[in-house]
Structures are given as structure tokens and as C-alpha cells.
């Protein structure tokens, strides 16, 4: 089950991250997971939210450059070696992870991690085959 991530281009300027977050907050959109990839002059904010359609519309209306990317959220046992176990599956199946980051909160005893794969469909198939629990869209919306 794929989830939608929203990526937003952010100039390296004071208050830009605040601008995005407050805009989402005003529209009653809740951020579930978040990470920022930064360079010297700009950053890319990546978020998973409860209402992704509304979020991207709102961002674009407010002149932010944003796009949608398919990602997969995986429940990982919150114990030593939990993540390693998942990564082994990817390594064995020749699946490339572009980047990954954690959820803001957990909603079970497991940790939640967002993965962006080179080939998302292939990754989802492998995960399903291996019986790994992936988070559904409904779960994200209802968190």
C-alpha cells in the first residue's frame, strides 16, 4: 500500500518552514511524518499528512512549488535490530532506498518509518510477499 508524500521546495530563508507549517495548521491539516533535505541554498521539505489532496492544493495556491511522491510507511519493531531486519529484506531483494525518515508519533508499539524507493511497486510487492506490515492510507488519515 503506497502513501502520498508531499515535497515542498524551500529557499534557505528565515521563516519559510514556519510559513508551510502554519499554512497547513490553519487548514486543519495534520503532519504525520516530516523530514528536510538541505543544501547550502535550499531545502526540500518532505511530509506525510492526513489530508494530502487538500494540502497540495493549499500549498500551490500559496505559490509554493510542491509535488507528490509515492512512499511506503512500514511498521518496524521498536527494538535493537528492528530496522536492520527490514533493510535486509531490501538488500536481499535488490531494492534501492532513495531516502527514509521516521514518523512524528507512533500509534502502536512499533516504530513507523517512511521509505522512498527507486521502484516503489517492486518494493510493495516484496513487502507484501514477506508479510511486512505497511501502513494504509486510511490508517494515516485516521491517526
Amino acid at each position: 500500500m503506497k502513501l502520498t508524500q508531499i515535497s515542498v521546495f524551500l529557499e534557505n530563508r528565515k521563516g519559510r518552514l514556519y510559513d508551510v507549517c502554519s499554512l497547513l495548521g490553519k487548514n486543519n491539516i495534520n503532519i504525520r511524518a516530516l523530514t528536510i533535505a538541505e543544501t547550502e541554498s535550499f531545502g526540500v521539505l518532505r511530509i506525510v499528512v492526513d489530508k494530502s489532496e487538500l494540502a497540495i492544493q493549499t500549498l500551490r495556491q500559496n505559490n509554493f512549488v510542491a509535488n507528490l511522491t509515492d512512499v511506503v510507511a512500514i511498521e518496524v519493531g521498536d527494538k535493537p535490530g528492528g530496522l536492520a531486519g527490514i533493510l535486509k529484506i531490501f538488500a536481499d531483494s535488490d531494492i534501492n532506498v532513495e531516502y527514509m525518515y521516521g514518523f512524528v508519533e507512533k500509534f502502536s508499539d512499533n516504530a513507523l518509518l517512511v521509505f522512498r524507493f527507486e521502484d516503489t511497486d517492486k518494493a510493495v510487492k516484496i513487502l507484501t510477499d514477506k508479510g511486512v506490515k505497511v501502513v494504509t492510507r486510511r490508517e494515516i488519515e485516521g491517526l
Binding site: S7, T39, F42, V44, R60, N63, Y99
Partner: protein
């Protein structure tokens, strides 16, 4: 010394006769050898035999950078291809570069005006000159080289860059004359200090600086830090390269070699002659050049002119330092930069829009830095930083390929580039020159 005293100190009436003689020969030569000019002259309703004196020049049409671009490469040549012995190419405003060519005579003319230039600055035959203008397609290096050769100077052709080596050569060979861009000589002063060399005890006593705008305050700074006389040289490759005009040690304007490069100052809006002393666009006619003689070439440089005799004895008219431009060209490290060049690059890269801004800055005693801001559009935006970095590297590489100078490319959010009256402000020049 005055290199060509009989010309440079000529009585105005005699000079006018010489200019008239040259123009009378030039127009039939161009008319019969260059179809593009033939058409221009015919379209202006002028017959070559109607040009009898230099005053008739006003009847002739102007030549612009657009003419150079549209007739690239050989359209404006009056000489036969086999008689062209050297060509130089500089970047044009969009697409086509500007090509300039020289016959053997043109090279000797260039050598002559450059010898006049170096002498006018205070250089003497037998002295050593370090030429730190770029050699190659840029006319700066070779122009000085030819002039110094003509004079019988000892030439050290260092070309630009490699500052530590420039300074070592200065110390080891004691050249009295240095020729480079004014910002580079200030940069070298900083480097010298960092290397433990006191610039005030340096060997350069005369500097010939040009290819970019510089001010009286920069002159004071250069003269103080290097303990030298800093003079201004003017030229443009379309006319010949450096060697169009040069300051003498009195520094009250640049002596223009008007016997061969006939100057007019016009109001760029009305195309009418400006009054003596008033600022306007400098228009130059090359009276004796063979390969690409230009009639009333619009330099787009704003200057004023004076015709009184100088304390140095020269009677040649003097133009002021460049006061501005009639177009949006800026000069960075001696290179002409037009915003349209950058627009052209962005239009050529898939997915980018030509929403950009050029920021030119010069930190104290450093070389000019160029930053190009490019607005990121949704089409090219990616969640992967790697791809955005690849994009900005591609833009950087292509711009540098066109401009031949290093630039920094920064991606910015859309609609963040300052727009004034609906039109984006393309250039922010933060330099205090």
C-alpha cells in the same frame, strides 16, 4: 614620450583634413566590397561620391551590435577572406558571437594605436611590461602584446590568473608597467599582502587598466596600495580591441585616437549630436580599418567629450570615463554579460522558465562574483535533492559555457524574483566601483 607626435599633436584643421581624406576613401571601399554596407548606404539615400568631408559622416547610417549579430560571421567584412590574418571572437548578446577580423594592415594599425596607448600611459621603449590581460580570443592580451612589440618593450606575457606567479615575476623581473583589469590589480594587492609582499614596494609603477568600469575612488586605492600611477584604457573588440583611447599621466580624460577612430557623441534617444561636454552615446567610425570597417558604430557606452588641448601636448580629443550604458550589458571581470544570454540558456534547458536574476557583487579587494537566481517551476521540481543539484549544475555549466566566467547558480522559489512594473529586474549590481 608621445609615440606619434605628428598625429597626436596635430592642429585641428589638419586633423580634420586627414579624417576627411580617410572617409572619402573608406566609403567607396566599403560600398564596393561589402554588400551589407552597400545596401545600408543605398537605403540611406547616400551616394559614395557625396561624402566629401568628415562632416558628411552624419549622412551615413549607424551600425549596431544587431548588425554584427545578424551578419555573422562574414557579412560585414569588406576585405577578402584570404587577406584576413587574424580573427577574435567574443560572446554576443544571444546566439551568435561577435566576430572581429584583422588584415595585416589592421594588425599594424592595432600595433600602432597600442604603442600610442602604452606611451600615453607613461611607458617607454626599452622598459618591461607585464601583460596580465587574458591572451586568446579576448583582444586584451594580444592587443597589448602587439603594441609593446611595436614600441620595443620587453614583454612578459603572463596572461590572466595564477596570481602567486604574477607576483613572483613582478619581483624577479621588475616590470615597470602592468596591464590588467583594475579589479585584478586590487585582488593581487591582497594576495601580495597574504604572501608577505608589501605592494607599496612593488615594481609596477605604471598601470594600464581597463576592460571593465572603474571609478576615481578605485584609482586612488590602486595608486595608494601599489604606489603607482593607474591609468584607464578604453577599447572594444568591434572597433579593434584595446587601443581606442587612453589616459595620459594628467588623467583628465582618455585621448581618443581620432585620426583613425572618429568619435561622435549622440543623444541615444534622438540620434542627434550631443553638445560638446554633454554626455551621450559614443559612436565610432573606423576610418582606415580594412577587414571590418565599421561606420558610425553604436558603442552603447555613455561618455562626454572635450576637444581642448591637453597639458601633455596632445591635441586629440578626450573622452570621459564610461558613465554608463544605453543597454543592459554589464561587465564582469572584463567579460561583457547580457541578461539575454542567460535567458537563452534557460530557454534551452527542458523544464526551466526564463525567470532569473543576475546578482553581481564584489567583496572588498576581491574579484567580481556572479550569482544567477533561477526560479524553480513545478515541472522541474523533484523530491530528490540529487536531481535538483544536477539541474543547478547543468544550468551552471551551460551559463559558464556561454559567458566564459564562473557563476554560482541558486534555485529560488517561484515569484520571489523582484518584479518592477510587471517586468522582472534582471540585474542587481551590488558592486561599489
Amino acid at each position: 614620450m608621445i609615440w606619434k607626435k605628428e598625429i597626436e599633436c596635430m592642429q585641428p584643421a589638419e586633423l580634420k583634413k586627414l579624417q576627411s581624406d580617410y572617409l572619402k576613401k573608406l566609403i567607396p571601399y566599403i560600398h564596393s566590397n561589402c554588400p551589407v554596407y552597400k545596401k545600408k548606404i543605398d537605403d540611406a539615400g547616400v551616394k559614395p561620391d557625396q561624402i566629401k568631408s568628415i562632416d558628411d559622416i552624419k549622412r551615413l547610417p549607424f551600425t549596431t551590435k544587431i548588425d554584427m549579430r545578424d551578419n555573422y560571421p562574414y557579412g560585414l567584412f569588406s576585405a577578402k577572406d584570404k587577406d584576413v590574418v587574424e580573427i577574435h571572437i567574443s560572446s554576443g548578446t544571444t546566439g551568435n558571437p561577435t566576430l572581429v577580423g584583422y588584415t595585416r594592415y589592421d594588425v599594424s594599425l592595432w600595433s600602432d594605436v597600442m604603442a600610442r596607448t602604452i606611451c600615453c600611459a607613461g611607458g617607454e621603449p626599452g622598459e618591461t611590461i607585464q601583460i596580465a590581460y587574458g591572451y586568446g580570443l579576448f583582444t586584451g592580451g594580444l592587443g597589448f602584446h602587439y603594441g609593446a612589440l611595436e614600441m620595443g618593450m620587453k614583454i612578459i606575457p603572463t596572461s590572466s590568473g595564477q596570481t602567486a606567479r604574477q607576483l613572483k615575476i613582478m619581483q624577479d623581473f621588475k616590470p615597470r608597467v602592468i596591464a590588467c583589469t583594475p579589479s585584478y590589480v586590487l585582488y593581487m594587492a591582497e594576495e601580495a599582502k597574504a604572501m608577505g609582499i608589501d605592494p607599496a614596494k612593488g615594481n609596477w609603477k605604471i598601470g594600464i587598466f581597463g576592460a571593465e568600469p572603474w571609478s576615481e575612488s578605485m584609482r586612488k586605492e590602486i595608486e595608494l596600495v601599489w604606489n603607482m600611477s593607474a591609468t584607464d584604457v578604453y577599447g572594444l573588440s568591434e572597433i579593434i580591441g584595446p587601443g581606442v583611447a587612453q589616459e595620459c599621466p594628467h588623467k583628465e580624460g582618455l585621448h581618443i585616437f581620432s585620426d583613425v577612430f572618429y568619435p561622435e557623441i549622440i543623444d541615444p534617444k534622438t540620434d542627434q549630436e550631443a553638445k560638446e561636454g554633454e554626455s551621450g552615446e559614443l559612436v565610432i567610425t573606423t576610418l582606415t580599418k580594412q577587414a571590418i570597417p565599421l561606420i558610425r558604430y553604436r558603442t552603447r557606452d555613455i561618455v562626454s567629450i572635450r576637444y581642448d588641448k591637453c597639458k601633455c601636448g596632445r591635441t586629440s580629443p578626450r573622452i570621459s570615463k564610461i558613465k554608463g550604458r544605453t543597454d543592459d550589458m554589464i561587465i564582469v571581470r572584463g567579460i561583457n554579460v547580457f541578461p539575454s544570454q542567460i535567458e537563452h540558456v534557460l530557454l534551452g534547458i527542458k523544464g526551466t522558465q526564463p525567470h532569473y536574476q543576475i546578482i553581481v557583487d564584489r567583496k572588498a579587494h576581491q574579484l567580481d562574483e556572479v550569482e544567477v537566481l533561477v526560479e524553480v517551476e513545478e515541472k522541474i521540481f523533484s523530491d530528490e535533492v540529487k536531481k535538483l543539484n544536477e539541474l543547478s549544475a547543468k544550468i551552471k555549466k551551460e551559463i559558464e559555457g556561454v559567458l566564459s566566467i564562473g557563476v554560482k547558480v541558486t534555485l529560488v522559489e517561484p515569484k520571489t524574483i523582484q518584479r518592477s512594473e510587471g517586468k522582472a529586474k534582471r540585474i542587481v549590481d551590488k558592486r561599489t566601483i
